[in-house]
Amino acid sequence: MNEIKTLPSGQPRLELTEMRRITKRFPGVLANDNVDFDVKSCEVHALLGENGAGKSTLMKILYGMYHQDEGEIFINGEQVKITSPTDAIKLGIGMIHQHFMLVDTLTVAENVALGLRSSRPPLTDLDLVSKRIIELADTYGLKMDPDAYVWQLSVGQQQRVEIIKALYRGAALLVLDEPTAVLTPQEVDELFVIMRQMVNDGYALIFISHKLHEVVDISNRVTVLRNGKKIGTRPTSEVTKTILANWMVGHEIDFITSTEAVQRGEVRYKLECVSCDSDRGTQGLCDVDLEVYSGEILGLAGVSGNGQRELAEVMAGLRKPTSGKIYLEGENVTGYDPEKLTKRMLSYIPEERMRDGMIGDFSVTENMILREHKQPKFSNNGLLKLKDIADHTDRLIDQFQVKTPSQKTLAKSLSGGNIQKVVLARELSRQPRVIIAAQPTRGLDIGAAEYVREQLLEQRKAGTAVLLISEDLDEIFALSDRIAVIYEGKIMEILNRDQATREKVGLLMAGVKSEEGEEVVL
Amino acid sequence: MKKMYKILALAMVLVFLFTACAPKEEPVVEEPVVEEPVVEEPEVMEKLRIAVVSPSSINDFAFTQSIYDAMIALQEEYGEDVIEFVYSENMFVVDDAAAAIRDYAASGFDMVIAHGSQYGSSLQEIAPDFPDISFAWGTTVDTFGIPNVFAYEAASDEGGFVNGVMAALMTESKVIGVVGPIETGDAKLYVDGFVAGVKATDPTIDVRVTYIGSFSDVALAAEAAETHIAAGADILTGTAQMVVGAIGKIQEAGGYWFGTQADQASFATDTVVASQVYHWEVILKEIIELRSQGILGGQSFIADLANGGQVMSFNSEIDIPADVMAAAEATIADIIGGQEIEPFEMEQLSIAIVSPSAINDFAFTQSIYDAMIALQEEYGEDVIQFVYSESMFVVDDAAAAVRDYAASGYDMVIAHGSQYGSSLQEIAPDFPDISFAWGTTVDTFGIPNIYAYEAASHEGGYVNGVMAAMMTESKVIGVVGPIETGDAKLYVDGFVAGVKATDPTIDVRVTYIGSFSDVALAAEAAETHIAAGADILTGTAQMVVGAIGKIQEAGGYWFGTQADQASFAPDTVVASQVYHWEVILKEIISLRAQGILGGQSFIADLANGGQVMSFNSEIDIPADVLAAAEATIQGIIDGTIVIELP
């Protein structure tokens, strides 16, 4: 008879949680196909797979948000039924969603107390809740102000509120759904510290990710899913990144880099001392000078929220600069709207591809001609040339390998990678002079991301001027001819690829000019 | 069938009861004696045996009596030895009548008279079986093309017209009632002629026609007469045998009756002025003449004034004014001389109303709704048909409604709201055959099919102001208006002028709340006035119901306008200026009848009765105030008071 071990909170541990032969079907898709998965206390079990591999579905089943069509769940050998998040919470299962489930107008304490039985109904007992939050936070060396409003907190702090929320509810098993996607490298390190301590305390953690190095870094065991099927489960110590990558995509992949030398041409796009406001009315860009040459990829590195979005929008004509001048091939295009810039062959791959890049309720075909529907090749005095458009779409679907059931399929029902391929097809097929690519591979699986990168390199070869905005330093280093670093709306410095090191760029991203030589851990 | 017998028997009993109860005026009621056919030796003229089948009794003072009298007249002329006749009366069951006709034909009568238009189809079957016998059928002009059927009819519209002319000259109340049976045949002809005669003489007279739906329901005819009398009629007429009930009622009321079909003077000697009497013997003589030439049928005859088949009989016991007699004689002469009688037809008029508030708003919209009801009462619901769209405060919606009504064929569309003007200006030219009326305004835009109407609401406002000035104790009076424009402004200005003319020291405070519908704000404006010392309030538009309640609570007085608001707060509303748009609408209707579809504007004022001051009898208005109000009204009407508006 095993002695029941408890967590520091006094909750019993979940020694072994098993999901057996889980199958889940969505209309037209087999999301999970007979998947076995288990997690023990005192371990981090990484769940690895490309987007759409079925990782989130499997975990949402465990958390009671979906119901499996087949298969059972066992906790410590006993079968359990989980029909709602409430059931999961009762069993000691918590989940940290990729999109935080926090109400930003409420305080930390209110967020934690929400949905819990108060000790003195019908009133709330926020004072008691606050006390307990501080106790829990102290256990893991976290600083937390229970009375702070969530909107006042940084992304990393909000994630900790999510963790506290789960722990407060007695979670002994925590599912972390892509928890690092929104964090800076430093915040990732801090998260890992917390995770390691939790494992030592007896928690069971499930870590969902598609970033290989993080998986290798943090997990004890790793399970790979591909196309809804389990490929395998191994102790992390027994696998390498390459093996995992092969399992994920099903074939050997190489990291593409820009090796081919291309002769840089003339200045295509130029910003002179451009400033603009942000959405909140504060300064978004401050005196930005930037030149993008024909036949080069200029990489823009920076921590998210330092003016990348504003810069992209100013360059695409979506945001009006408050001062400064913009030139496209020598012509002053300051204040031009997107339609005029379109005519001058500027292409824009927006960061929020679902929101700004396409219309979800339009078909693939319609999305393909969003930018050029007024051109004579697609319309005749306002009437669409449907036959020509269909032919054009067929060519692009073929050329850009878009996986879609038909031309008529609504864009929103495509996977993330295919949506981005539609955007790329639309933006790149028109032989643009300038491309602004904002976070073009974010959220894409490895295969799709590689495809996007290849396409950008193709454009460089064709002599197009490319601005690549990315928060993925690996990507910046792999593709860029020059690297510009943005911090608080200012361009810190522009480095040639051969002068740039990760340390240098990292310091610049943190706002430290290289001369000052402060040490920054990346 | 059994039931029919019972009903008729009951009707007959009623007739006798009634005649028995009537004042002893020596009614000449012959006992229905079936005379034995007297067989005499043939002399100069060929002996003629005639059988008459008729639906009512021979002494019905009406239809059957007319043929009976004709037979008697024939006998007198040719001698009883030549004209031998039998009759079957009360044959209201057509099958029974048909059997009688066949029996008479089979038993060798020379001629069978089927005296009832309902006997037609029976005759059509019977006549061909007896080709040697003549049949006569009335009242109709149709012989079915059968060679042994004669048809006869009376031009009863002629006598009706004469009666109408006389009635029009003799009525004092200018209201005349008609009691008809069913709107068909001889009865319709008479009634239409009568109405035409009245209208030709004096179109302003109100002729109200009721058809009671029965030839025999004496009680209902009496009731119809009572209704006409209650509605102000002093002269009645009617046709068919059930009218005896009606004659008694008008006699009781001291009015006059005009009769038809038979001389009804003997029935009520002090009441029946004139009767159109049928003299079928004129027709029958022609028929007898033709028979003697061997012609057994195939021709039709009309009894009229010219051929003496109709005769006007004037009651000598009544002192008919000379000019009436002269007019009657002249009319008869004209008709004989060939004057056509144009049946007067009140044009059927379908009217649609679009108004901004609800029909029971105690104010603006209710005033037009009440006017339409008044018109319907006057002309009859069959003549004036109206529909309405209320609460059309969104002008675009109202415009759509106006256009819909115009497009769906209404004769006239009333846009009852000054805000509808520009919409009407666009719509009216698209429907040139339809009349539009727009109020309240004086502007027709120069469009030929728009009438404009307005109320001189400052007049009633002035009268209210005079009264309020005399009744206030605090010397502070409050006014709750909607928006400073149009009718509301006119009323308020008139009211203020009336107060100031009476007592310039009185403080009249005017608020416009900016809404026609915000009851709560109107109430609050009233509260404010009361707090500022007002003990009398007035106001206009439909939201004032809130204000009336507040002044009622405070124990003050209210003066109303647009509709009679006394019923809403009987202890508070002293007087109301009431709009009677029907005065204007009647003018518009008579213009329409002349083919004028618009282009004129009208003002309802105290002088023309389009505005009436209604004083609340439940409030003890001091005599001097009432006298001052009456004097003010008179002064406004005769022009001695001129209201100075700002």
Partner: protein, 310 residues
């Protein structure tokens, strides 16, 4: 002339007007504030008020019992709230257009029933004033604040009560969470639909009560269309009050006081065009809304239907 305004009679008169006019707004706006805080924009307030006003009037007239009338007004408001909740929460109908639909329904239905059942404008003897001993004898203002009918007291008491419920109870916490991030609330086991049903029905009930306060307490008549846009003003006052009961109180009082002021301006004959005077409360409301809009955030999930994925 302007100086005429600064006499005790006038200032107290304006205050009295403000309190009376504010009463229906308070009921309707607080109900609407609850509904909006949970993420449901109910534009049918006007219709709910009209039907509430009618039923309160009609039942009070029929039974001679004012409280039965008030209950009927609240009940019909609650039923309309229930219907609104069903179409917007279960059927995911667009909230804006559904609200307009319920407004039109209430408008038409109250007109129809009025014509069928009552026919003409009549009065009912409404709630009497209740004088609160001692307080009502406070010089100047005692009579204004403490000599009102029962519904006026209830309307003003509703402000602290509803504020307390919203901020200090678990129910209030759920309402605020559901209106801001229904997904988060749902993930914590809060029934989003349940909370919204509650607030929308509560909002309808309060709108019905607002109508009842007009027809059986303040005006004591029913006239077709008598709310004259007050239901829409009530919705605007929720924005004005930044979705907080105390803010709503401030808005309702400000709007009503300025309305009282403009009436006095006209009564005193101060030479301001009446057209401008009647616009004053609206202009002021628009000004305050414009100036405060940058600081105030609406509930993030306002007008957004919630549906759990999968």
């Amino acid at each position: 002339m302007i100086s005429d305004l600064f006499t005790p009679t006038v200032l107290l008169g304006i205050l009295a007007s403000g309190i009376r006019l504010a009463t229906p707004y308070l009921f309707a706006s607080i109900g609407e504030a609850y509904s909006q805080r949970s993420g449901v924009l109910n534009l049918g307030v006007e219709g709910q008020m009209l039907l509430g006003a009618f039923f309160a009037f009609y039942i009070a007239k029929l039974t001679d019992n004012l409280w039965l009338g008030v209950l009927a007004g609240m009940g019909v408001g609650a039923l309309m709230g229930l219907a609104m909740a069903f179409v917007t929460i279960n059927l995911h109908a667009k909230q804006g257009i559904s609200g307009i639909g319920f407004y039109l329904f209430g408008l038409g239905m109250s007109n129809l029933l009025f014509q069928l059942l009552v026919g003409t404008v009549e009065t009912v003897s409404g709630f009497p004033r209740i004088e609160i001993p001692l307080l009502s004898s406070i010089p100047w203002v005692g009579n204004i604040f403490f000599n009102q009918n029962i519904l006026v007291y209830i309307a003003f008491l509703l402000v602290p009560v509803s504020s307390y419920v919203l901020n200090k109870t678990t129910l209030g916490l759920k309402i605020r969470a559901v209106g801001q991030n229904p997904e988060a609330a749902d993930s914590l086991g809060v029934s989003v639909a349940g909370v919204r049903y509650f607030t929308v029905i509560f909002g309808g009930t309060m709108s019905g009560l607002a109508g009842a306060s007009l027809s059986v307490a303040l005006l004591n008549v029913f006239q077709q269309g008598m709310t004259a846009g007050q239901g829409f003003i009530a919705v605007a006052l929720v924005y004005f009050g930044a979705w907080r009961p105390w803010g709503v109180l401030a808005g309702a009082l400000l709007f009503s006081l300025v309305n009282g002021l403009q009436l006095w301006i006209q009564v005193l004959g101060i030479p301001i065009a009446p057209e401008f005077a009647v616009m004053m409360p609206y202009i002021l409301t628009i000004l305050v809304l414009t100036l405060s809009v940058s600081k105030v955030r609406a509930p993030a999930a306002l007008t957004k239907p919630f549906e759990r994925e999968g």
